[in-house]
Amino acid sequence: MNAVAVPVRRRPRRRRRGGRAGWNIVAIVLFAVMVFPVFWMISSAFKPTDQINSFTPTWFSRHPTVSHFTTAVHTPYFWTDVKNTLIIVSVTVTVSIALAFLAAVALAKYRFTGRKLFIVLVIGIQMLPGAGLIIPLYVTLASYHLVNTLTGVIVTYMTIVLPFSVWTLRGFILGIPKELEEAAMVDGSTRLGAFVRILLPLVAPGLVATSVFAFIQAWNEYLYARIILASQGKQTITVWLSYFLGTSRSTDWGALMAGSTLTAIPAVVFFLIVQRRIAFGLTAGAVRG
């Protein structure tokens, strides 16, 4: 069912015991180094303020507190910005996935003149650096009075989500055996009938995975939201988090880490769910050679 080619893993040949023990230790140290920032974020979020401000760090607090989370949640605009983000993300994802699915069907099931050009467009857009598009997007949105509106951000996010979704969904559709569809057509279904009854249910997990990944991208986005949404109370969660640092001279690190944890949770949870399905999509074909 996994459309994007997850290569079959061959069991590596058994090596000498001693060598492997050494590598295991290296890997565990590496694990500790890589995961440390995440650990430190969570650990700090639950630490009493005196332990945060201390010069000697406390690794695990014996007196965990949720007071930083209370502070973070009560920081102005937290809930408003969460709401804004959810609106932006849900509209972006719904519209993009619907449009992208149609295009993905075209790419996966039809050969047509201009197909290659369309693929170039879909891949090429993903390569455009966000920073390079700020100015024209801002000026264009300004001339339609869409600066400082959620609509402006939704429209902009579609430039990120659409190409990516087309490409990923195409992979999922390709993963469905042609024979199934053909069998349905032999049984007297029309192409549309075969599509609705056979293709759609099979591609549903792919649709969900792509939507979830699109959700993560939109949830995490910062640059466009920062530029388009100028007034406080109209921003997204990542912009809220970025301003947290600058509110006063002495930063409330505990609350900042609590806010960071809260911002990260939806993205992390969703990512852990869909990572296996999506991740290899980026380079799927290349792995196959």
Binding site: W23, M34, A103, A131, G132, V139, M158, S242, L256
Partner: protein
């Protein structure tokens, strides 16, 4: 009478043929109808701004013009201004060095981690992979805040750990004191965030390397590094090249990490990267015309850098 029959037959025949042709045309147009919504959306929200970008680049377009919605044509003035700007060239050189360092470290360490994943026991592999996926899932803005906290001057835990491990006296060491140090911290943050993607993808590619080829090379007495360079690398080369070119494009256009980690107040022409230079010139100074000129130069550079990746992916998409 016979004539009539013939004519009638001909009419039906030609009608049927026409109907068939229409049907074929209709069916042939299906993919176009399917891609039309995406094309329309992309055209409206990206195509038009890109067209605006090219017009803006040849206009004087400031705040006043933004309000009036019309710029004054100035020809190549914006480009001339940018290309005569010392800061542009310094930023370009700095960004190239920054990109080379970031991509080199990401690809080098990422590949080493992938090789490590092959050599460890299953339990450790699952553990390390889980850790990598966790890091991968962290939103960039969150990662920046966490690194900001870890490296803060007052009591950042990085300073504590380095001091405890006897790397020297890092008590209240300011990581944001010099351009080099600032960009080094940004590099650490970016490489940390990019490693999981590279390591896991390369690991997946390594699984495709036929074990008998490696064994044959080993039996022939080739040392491990030769086996890696002469057997493994050629097979995983496509993946390495794609990852490298993706990393180059991402790191060259990087914005969020340096902008937030160095901090808006500490951003100076002395530590500009391309994305930031563009942002400061165009958006903050409200000189959209010049910003557009810089954008075009930047897009041209990135387009050149990404040609390899795009071509490779298009070939994949075209074959399927």
């Amino acid at each position: 009478m016979a004539e009539r029959v013939v004519i009638a037959a001909e009419t039906t025949w030609s009608r049927r043929r026409r109907r068939l042709t229409w049907g074929r045309v209709a069916r042939g147009s299906v993919p176009y109808w399917l891609i039309l919504p995406v094309l329309g959306a992309i055209g409206a929200i990206l195509g038009y701004p890109l067209y605006r970008l090219f017009r803006l680049a040849f206009q004087h377009y400031g705040l006043e013009e933004l309000i009036r919605h019309s710029g004054q044509p100035v020809g190549l003035h914006n480009f001339g201004h940018v290309l005569h700007d010392q800061i542009f060239w310094h930023t370009l050189v700095r960004t190239v060095i920054f990109t080379v360092a970031n991509v080199g470290l990401t690809m080098g360490i990422g590949t080493l981690i992938a090789l490590l994943l092959v050599r460890v026991s299953t339990v450790v592999r699952v553990l390390l992979t889980a850790g990598l996926v966790l890091v991968w899932s962290m939103p960039v803005v969150v990662a920046v805040q966490v690194w900001g906290w870890m490296t803060n001057y007052q009591n950042g835990v990085v300073n504590y750990i380095l001091t405890e491990l006897h790397f020297g006296d890092y008590f209240q060491h300011n990581w944001y004191g010099s351009t080099f140090s600032q960009l080094a911290i940004v590099t650490t943050l970016i490489v940390w965030g990019a490693l999981p993607f590279v390591a896991i993808t390369v690991f997946a590619a390594l699984a495709q390397v036929p074990a008998d080829l490696v064994e044959a090379a080993q039996i022939d007495g080739a040392p491990p590094w030769r086996v890696f360079l002469d057997v493994t690398v050629p097979i995983i080369r496509p993946v390495l090249l794609i990852l490298t070119s993706l990393s180059i494009v991402w790191d060259f256009g990087v914005f969020v990490q340096p902008y937030l980690l160095i901090g808006q107040t500490h951003i100076t022409p002395g530590n500009y990267l391309m994305g930031i230079y563009l942002f400061e010139k165009g958006y903050f100074d409200n000189d959209y015309g010049q910003g557009a000129a810089i954008s075009i130069l930047m897009l041209l550079i990135v387009a050149t850098l990404s040609i390899f990746y795009v071509r490779k992916m298009v070939r994949i998409g075209d074959v399927d």
